[in-house]
Amino acid sequence: MKKMVLLGDEAIAQGALDAGISGIYAYPGTPSTEITEYVQFSKQALQDNVKFSWCANEKTAVETALGMSYAGLRSMACMKHVGLNVAADPFINSAITGAIGGFIVVAADDPSMHSSQNEQDSRFYGDFAFVPVLEPTDQQEAYDMVHYGFDLSEKYEIPVLLRITTRLAHSRSNVIVREKRPQNKPKLPTDPIRFVLMPFNARRRYKILLDKQPDLLKESENSPFNRYFNAEDKSLGIIVSGIAYNYLVENFESHKVPFPVLKISQYPLPKEQIERIFDECIEILVIEEGYPFIEDKLRGFLGRGLKIRGRSDGSIPRTGELNPSIVGKALGIEYKTGIKPPEIIVPRPPSLCQGCPHSVTFEALNIALDGYSTGRVLSDIGCYTLGALPPYNSINSCVDMGASITMAKGVADAGFHPVVAVIGDSTFSHSGITGLLDAVNDKSPITVIIADNLTTAMTGGQFSPSIGKIEDICRGLGVEEEHIRIFEPHHRKLNEIVQILKEELNYRGVSVIIPRRECLVTLTKRTREERKKAQAKKV
């Protein structure tokens, strides 16, 4: 029996390698990044020739993984919850084409929005697409569910959604790992017509997808991950999903809950077990991390019948991450209030690193825009989003990947000038390029700053898909050569940079300004590694 110490994310990655995966595709996003990063640096993955890519965005990742499944191999696409919005089109439609090689999409949700713009619950996507959802309780289940998920996917020729949340993604524990099984042999489909979603065929495939549902329900009812724990006290029945199960049992001596508990880790919801707990118990408490997905389904629109408590009815706070105390309180367990933190403590928000190239860009931008009314800098998602906070207060929006350029165009269309978009290099490749094309086609008077630090910095320095290609991409889209301005954002060049910004702010067309200097974090890491290599050579 081999044991490893793994983060939840790493357990998924190791599970995939041991379950015979052939390709993993992702765009980095907290809390999902470490899954693909683990494969990237894994010797086992290298030996087995497992393909991995940091893709341009989640949509390209899911499509590539689907292509690999089409060719008979096991594949995975990994993303944070909001990434699944970007990949929703291929994800939903892949349920209709169906999979061939085992195909798992991992969505890592972020309740409490530790590093996100919202706390959407990916289980709704599984429901929406009519595909099975797996929701692990701990690192061991995360590992085991990858094997199980690939098998389920191949058995029913259907994509499987693996849903985790931040806490499991970034918590480490012991995991028992299995012997590696062989990868599939590549083979083109014998009936490729099923992947042609023209109306005549899409109607046929959609019916096939719906016809699979009773079998998927049976799988849930027989799933080793959905468990019914009977108990004496039937005054309450508890339905609990995923990681919330741990918070529940934490509240009881030897983890023994005095009420019947139905633990759910596989969807569609297991009907048989739910009927049983409804028949046996007087009242139901639903504990789930995320939205009240199970609770609202069970209560229905009219809410008649058995009393159901949970996040919707206010027994548990509607928003934010759960923990043992929140769950305990919903069960009426008293928690002694801890010592109150002294009032002198102040929050310490995240900030740009000392000497970060973005700080120079923001300083220059503030000077260049001095005299104009505020509210004309639309921005995006990355380290530079921290420019919204003091001391910079430079940017006015952060909505979704790529929205800086397109929203800036909208503001310009509304008649304002100058209008600025601030976007990073990686976000530009993710979803900025198409928006820039729109702006060029309309000759919109916007100044686009592509703050190029040569990496995907916020998530820890992954490959930036448009590295070395940004100005060529802009030229190709039709941005005029004289309005593509590139410089190194150094403090000593501040006046020069302000001058460039002012010139382009005055231009009534599309300008692209590229402040380019490597992220200090990746620079330090790279220098250290290079020094080490040089030393090793000397020895």
Binding site: H114, R167, E250, H255, N323, P341, S351
Partner: protein, 192 residues
């Protein structure tokens, strides 16, 4: 045996090295453990904490229940106080006294230290200074781990082996420096 520990500080202060060391030690001591970390945006100079749970029985929750923490190890004085509501009445606050000032409104340090002293079970040490004194200026975090080791219920040799494992890639010199930092912190805790 059960130890619930919160390790706190500012992103980049070596919190994960403390957690990794206890993790390796737990593994060698055949204990169950769960360690929850903060990745992402907060790592950019923001407040970060790690929940570390150790036990000889299986552990359910990745998070420590409110008011049940046995020990807070803080690499930064204000950050230790931030999670004080998590501490059990008889829990220990083991903290560095050197502040990490990256915000304009950092409170008066003397007031912070006064608040720390209000706890009967506190060990407040200038870990930066001690690390420098033992010739390993980057090991303030391991000085604090040394102090915490008094309450960890893990064999001394096992902890030292874990330090070796964590800093293995950085070479013999770094390992020795961290050993000295560990010893210095441990000595302070035992001489209280």
């Amino acid at each position: 045996m059960k130890k619930d520990i919160i390790i706190s500080g500012v992103g980049g202060q070596g919190i994960l090295s403390i957690a990794a060391t206890i993790g390796y030690a737990a593994l060698e001591a055949s204990l169950y453990f769960k360690q929850s970390e903060v990745h992402g945006m907060s790592q950019r100079g923001g407040e970060v904490q790690s929940h570390f749970r150790l036990s000889d029985k299986p552990i359910a929750s990745d998070l420590i229940p409110e008011g049940k923490t046995d020990m807070i190890i803080s690499v930064e004085p204000m950050e230790g106080l931030r999670y004080i509501s998590m501490l059990a009445p008889d829990g220990w606050l083991i903290t560095n006294t050197t502040p990490f000032v990256n915000i304009p409104n950092y409170p008066d340090l003397d007031k912070i230290l006064d608040e720390i002293k209000k706890f009967p079970n506190n060990i407040a040490i200038d870990a930066e200074k001690i690390a420098k004194e033992v010739g390993s200026p980057k090991s303030a975090n391991i000085v604090l781990l040394g102090a915490a080791s008094r309450f960890l219920d893990i064999d001394y040799e096992i902890l030292k082996n874990a330090i070796k494992t964590v800093f293995y890639k950085k070479g013999e010199e770094v390992i020795e420096g961290n050993f000295r930092a560990f010893e210095a912190g441990r000595k302070i805790a035992f001489n209280l």
